[in-house]
Amino acid sequence: MIQLNNVTKIYPNGAKALVDINLRISKGEFVFLVGPSGAGKSTLVRLLFREEVPTRGQVTLNGRNLVRMREREVPLLRRTIGVIFQDFKLLPNKTVMENAGFALEVLGVPAKEVQARTRSALDMVGLSHKTRAFPGELSGGEQQRVCVARAIINNPALLVADEPTGNLDPETAWEIMDLLYNINKRGTTVVMATHAKDIVNQMKKRVIAIEKGRIARDEEKGAYGYEL
């Protein structure tokens, strides 16, 4: 489903974020990206929803070449990918309902359908009782649930998460991981960059370790492998 061939990313300031990465991720996998800060995890994640384009090499997603893709095809690509961030990226002046439904609204889906689908997404993340609240009135875990709801509302084939539990306490983090686990079970591929050692060790999923822009380790049912 995801394929990276000889991918190198050098930022304009000369920093080599990724060096000659070759990677293949199949449909339905759950993959952790681990490694020290600044090793290139976030860059790799950003390549997947084409927030970045590699300097060299090819990125293919479901047979689509993300490097040669034209600018106006990018929105179409992103509609098939759900993205979750460490800082949630919610709009403070929109309600939970509006934030979660945002991904549908920008597609021009009729209001009634937006409502129904948003409700069921919020149901799934356990927030159906707070649809009218604003993000500022929610806890961190609840905000991240809204973000997850927004990410899955389009039934994406791929869910990309960049340190989704980075701002959460361990207990709340596990609640989010339960959500991601269930989403993965329904067939969605999940790629998650993280520093959460306990989570990686207990989930026993594929672990790809990145160091200095290169793949240092790639194990099925792996462990975090770094001492903090």
């Binding site: 106006r72 992103r78 993205v83 919610l90 945002f102 021009g108 389009n154």
Partner: protein, 304 residues
């Protein structure tokens, strides 16, 4: 799959855009007021400089239209020769009009100006008219008068050619300068207005960059993101344009009346066609500036 045009619009999208525009206006009322005031001030300045340009050029035209060449015909020419000469001058490319004032007409006018009766002056002069026939020549472009006069001097059959040398030589550079000044003033204020307005729009877009980023990430098309800003810019520019048109319209009316009472010799343009053209132009300019300015300021933020 829903069919969409180039701009990614569907009915629910249009609803969304209108709602977003209104929300944005409600959310940042002071930014909206600031934008309207900026557009208004810029357009007021622009409107007044447009009227200044119109008046400057009108004044220049008026001065210049009074410039004419008097070419006096040699007295020994027959009437048919005079008419041939008139035709010849008429056929010159720089010439707008030629008017023949015969010596009889000239004598008559001269006599009237002395207050006498028709026959008196002629008999007083011993039965012969000493005045020459005169050709009054107007140039297409008053700025060419000097060159035209020089060419006329070369024509056989003309005695003297005069165009009020002293006055014209000073007047023509002055009117040219007046037009230039008008154009420079309008140009400078147009640029200043655009800069002011674009700063304001950039602030508005910047205050919503987070929203734009998120829209990009969930797969909104660029046009979908642009529309609310365009509509908002259009509305703000429209309101600013209307206010500016009111101020400029009332202000100019008042100024024109005032000038006419106190400085009657200064001709103010009172054409109502021009008046409405400028005012409608201001409103349209406001809308265009608002919409185009928004779209333009967005470009940087759309590259996520």
């Amino acid at each position: 799959m829903r069919r969409k045009g180039l701009t990614g619009m569907s009915f629910s999208s249009a609803q969304y855009i209108l709602r977003e525009t209104l929300n944005s206006l409600k959310r940042n009322p002071w930014l909206s007021v600031a934008s309207i005031v900026t557009v208004m001030v810029s357009l007021v300045i622009l409107g007044f400089s447009a009227f200044f340009l119109a008046n400057a050029s009108n004044m220049a035209n008026m001065f210049e239209s009074q410039v004419e060449i008097a070419a006096f015909v040699q007295t020994n020419l027959s009437q048919s020769e005079v008419l041939a000469l008139e035709d010849r001058i008429k056929s010159m490319p720089q010439v707008a009009s030629v008017e023949l004032v015969t010596k009889d007409q000239a004598l008559l006018e001269f006599g009237q100006s002395l207050g006498g009766k028709k026959g008196d002056l002629l008999s007083d002069l011993g039965g012969t008219n000493p005045l020459p026939d005169k050709l009054t020549v107007k140039a297409n472009d008053p700025q060419e008068v000097v060159g035209l006069a020089a060419e006329l001097t070369k024509l056989p059959g003309l005695e003297t050619v005069s165009y009020g040398q002293g006055v014209v030589d000073k007047l023509l550079p002055f009117t040219r300068w007046l037009r230039w000044l008008g154009a420079v003033v309008v140009g400078a204020f147009t640029v200043a207005s655009l800069v002011l307005i674009s700063i304001n729009i950039k602030m508005n877009v910047f205050s919503r960059r987070r929203e734009i980023q998120i829209m990009k990430l969930v797969g909104a098309s660029n046009w979908f993101i642009r529309w609310p800003f365009l509509v908002e810019g259009l509305i703000l520019g429209w309101v600013g344009g209307i206010l500016a048109a009111l101020i400029v319209g009332l202000g100019y009316r008042w100024l024109a009346d005032y000038v006419q009472m106190t400085l009657a010799f200064l001709p103010m343009v009172q054409s109502s066609a021009l008046f409405w053209q400028v005012l409608v132009g201001l409103i349209l300019a406001g809308m265009a500036i608002g919409a185009v300015g928004s779209a333009f300021s967005l470009r940087k933020f759309l590259r996520v």
